[in-house]
């Protein structure tokens, strides 16, 4: 664990106890079984906002507490432990980051205070097919009068079905594959011509497909500069990746702890199964990967806070290492629990399903290994 400020430790501890008390896995399970299509519980979200988490990154002038990414990462790690499904990630981290990085005063005024107060939700709409490919954006934004007309589709948008405002990456020039010619737009969730389809994802989190049929937006809805949105988008994505990595780290740590506990209690052949050396070595290796992943996640968050020049590498590193350990531990959780781990009544499946969705979101390990190598020049 990195050395934390007093404020960070306090917030981390507060999150820890709140999660244990108010948002155990049973709460997520209940939400899932209730068929709640939002993918989160509004009452729970309200509590999280009251604790100020929605405004961690929001400057004080806009009603937030103006803290740093490491702090938000600590909270995401704790909420990740129990699979807490909430807009914290998409609104307080992703959408907020986009506005902080590229929003003008009017745009910040319009949204940041609402985000911090829990009165509005935001979401980032980037991918248009099954695989993460930010430069392959094709959704067309055509000039019409003083504004723009958006036509195309976005898929698997996290909280896209609930968001009051969508940050949409669109193509204003060039062709799919060009980094130039991408522009970010702020689009109201209830915009005319926008069809939102809530999906039933394997991990029961709120995701949606979006169809844009001549959706009109004004000139003032451009976030950042026309045709040069990619660098902002990439920066937003890196913050999203680091945050997702923090969430995965929390989850993997929790599922490891649960599994370790089972190894210490389950008996077969007259032995607690945790005494079997093959399982001991597998557990020790998981622990090793968890420690390595923690270092990567913390380094990425700290680099963002310091505006370091290796943010991109570190975020790809954190996403990959946290994703890989989440992958490993979620599989071992099922295997080491045996038959009971295969039942829907047990939590193993919930961790397994959430893990794969997070691994794929904003680029899987394959994507980020390639990106890392490219960034390092080979």
């Amino acid at each position: 664990m990195a050395n934390l400020t007093e404020e960070q430790s306090m917030l981390r501890d507060a999150a820890k106890s709140w999660v244990a008390e108010k948002s155990p896995v049973t709460a997520f399970r209940k939400m899932r079984d209730s068929g709640n299509a939002d993918g989160f519980d509004r009452a729970v979200w309200k509590e999280m906002c009251e604790m100020g988490w929605a405004g961690i990154l929001v400057p004080e002038d806009f009603g937030g507490s103006g803290l740093d990414y490491l702090t938000l990462g600590l909270v995401l790690e704790e909420t990740g432990r129990t699979l807490t499904a909430s807009p914290l990630f998409s609104t307080a981290l992703v959408a907020t980051s986009a506005l902080l990085l590229a929003g003008n005063d009017a745009q910040k005024k319009a949204w940041l205070r609402k985000f911090a107060g829990g009165e509005a939700l935001g979401a980032l709409a980037v991918d248009e097919a099954g695989h993460h490919a930010p430069e392959r954006i094709a959704l067309k934004a055509a000039k019409s009068g003083s504004g723009w007309t958006l036509t195309g589709r976005k898929v698997f948008v996290l909280d896209g079905g609930m968001a009051d405002v969508l940050i949409v990456a669109a193509r204003t020039s060039g062709k799919a594959g060009d980094k130039d010619g991408i522009t970010l737009f702020l689009v109201p969730g209830d915009a005319k011509g926008l069809k939102r389809t809530k999906l039933k994802s394997v991990d029961s989190r709120g995701v949606a497909n979006l169809e844009f049929a001549n959706v009109e937006v004004g000139a003032g809805d451009v976030l950042g500069t026309v045709d040069h949105g990619f660098s902002t988008l990439d920066a937003v994505l890196d913050r999203a990746r680091a945050g997702m990595a923090a969430e995965m780290l929390g989850q993997a740590s929790q599922s490891f702890d649960i599994t370790l506990e089972y190894l210490k209690t389950r008996t077969q052949f007259g032995q607690v199964i945790g005494t079997f050396q093959a399982l001991q070595h597998r557990a020790a290796k998981m622990f090793t990967d968890l420690e390595l992943a923690r270092s990567c996640v913390e380094a990425a968050l700290i680099a963002i806070d310091r505006g370091a020049n290796d943010v991109a590498q570190l975020c790809s590193l954190a996403k990959t290492r946290a994703g890989d350990v989440c992958h490993l531990v979620s599989n071992e959780m099922v295997q080491m629990h045996g038959g009971i781990g295969m039942t829907d009544a047990h939590d193993s499946g919930l961790y397994l399903k959430r893990a794969r969705v997070q691994e794929a979101t904003y680029g899987g390990s394959s994507f980020h290994r390639d990106r890392y190598a490219t960034l390092m020049g080979y």
Partner: protein, 397 residues
């Protein structure tokens, strides 16, 4: 013309005359009850019922079983010819049944004459559908630690306890069940009994898996009265029968089910979701991992073939067979992981709009595949067995 050739010719003729034209084919995992038979089978498909009855009449649902018990009385060679001819016309299996695969063979070996005459013919004709009462919540890999009590009440047995992973307990007519008849010993305190699932005190609850609904059940026994005549083999002599039956079950799991990776191949699916670049899969990293997996799958398939050829040549089964279950489970899990990875977010749907049925199916198969290394002997137990039985390594003292 050799006897075998005569047999082949007759068989072919008979099949031409008796395989219902309207029946066509069906995949092995099809759960149409007419294939599983039993008292409660509705036999919606009349051709299927006709096919079952015709095959049963010749005893060809159990080709090698003695005619006395309703079997076909065929020699292994004849049985192979029958398989070949059925394969030639791609015939749909007439009957799928735990009775045929697991119970029948051990009854032939351990049951009394009366029991054989009572139970075997009904298995051959698919009249009684059987389920297997083995695992318990506290007895998984360590099956012999099972606790389901079976008390001798003089004129009958009284059974109390719980089983888990009882496939199709909610659909079966009878159960073959391991029970504890002596609590002072472990392996020597187990007996093998048969009873009717409609007996008062029997309750089966389907288990929902991480992949959705499943054939598995939790099965509860509360003061279940069982006639003593339904004990197979000796009292407290059930463990030997249980182990023998497991051999048949594992053969069954290894051969069928997973491995190979049927349907559209992984690389084709990957191409369609990931795209291509100069004739190669666009994601070079994924391509390398798919190639490595496909090569392992090919190596596995070649190994299965090698084992079959060695067996045909009448050699004693080589050590390779011991690794089949472990390797098959690992392969299928890798394949499923690569499949959902290749599909990206389209491979992460549970159901409903936005996902094709083939995508939902891939996701469910991926989740279900996690059980491959647990059911029918965990991979850890498989590796222990290889280390000890095949490699001759000793137990930790």
């Amino acid at each position: 013309m050799s006897d075998l050739e005569t047999f082949r010719a007759d068989t072919r003729k008979w099949l031409q005359a008796n395989y219902p034209a309207g029946l066509g084919q069906v995949s092995l995992d099809d759960d149409d009850d007419s294939i599983w038979g039993g008292r409660r089978a509705k036999h919606k498909n009349k051709d299927a019922k006709l096919w079952l009855d015709r095959m049963a009449e010749k005893g060809w649902t159990a080709p090698t079983w003695p005619k006395d018990y309703g079997g076909g009385g065929l020699s292994p060679a004849e049985a192979r010819v029958l398989q070949q001819e059925l394969g030639r016309i791609k015939a749909r299996p007439a009957l799928m049944s735990f009775g045929l695969w697991m119970l029948g063979p051990v009854l032939l070996e351990y049951a009394s004459e009366e029991q054989k005459r009572e139970y075997l013919p009904k298995i051959v004709r698919g009249e009684i559908r059987w389920c297997q009462g083995y695992s318990e919540p506290g007895a998984g890999s360590d099956l012999a630690s099972l606790r389901t009590r079976c008390e001798d009440k003089g004129d009958h047995f009284l059974i109390n306890g719980q089983k888990i992973w009882t496939s199709y307990a909610d659909k079966a007519d009878w159960i073959f069940c391991l029970v504890r008849t002596d609590t002072s010993k472990k392996h020597e305190g187990i007996s093998f009994v048969l009873f009717d699932m409609t007996t008062p005190g029997v309750e089966a609850r389907p288990i929902k898996l991480i992949s959705g609904s499943s054939p598995f059940c939790e099965t509860f026994f509360t003061d279940v009265k069982v006639p003593k005549a339904q004990l197979v083999g000796k009292l407290n002599g059930g463990w030997e029968i249980a182990k023998r039956l497991l051999q048949y079950e594992r053969q069954n799991i290894s051969s069928g089910g997973f491995g190979g990776g049927g349907g559209v191949e992984l690389e084709e699916i990957a191409k369609s979701y990931v795209g291509e670049k100069d004739g190669h899969l666009a994601d070079a990293d994924l391509r390398a991992r798919i190639a490595a997996h496909r090569m392992e799958a090919k190596a596995f398939a070649l190994t299965v073939r090698r084992i079959e050829e060695e067996a045909k040549a009448g050699k004693t089964v080589g050590p390779a067979v011991s690794i089949i279950k472990y390797a098959a489970a690992k392969l299928n899990q890798e394949r499923c992981e690569l499949m959902v990875e290749a599909m990206g977010s389209q491979g992460l749907g549970w159901d409903g709009e936005g996902f094709k049925p083939s995508e939902i199916a891939a996701t469910r198969s991926w989740l279900r595949s996690k059980g491959n290394s647990i059911e029918g002997g965990t991979s850890e137990v498989n590796l222990n067995v290889v280390a000890k039985r095949v490699l001759g390594l000793l137990d930790h003292q």
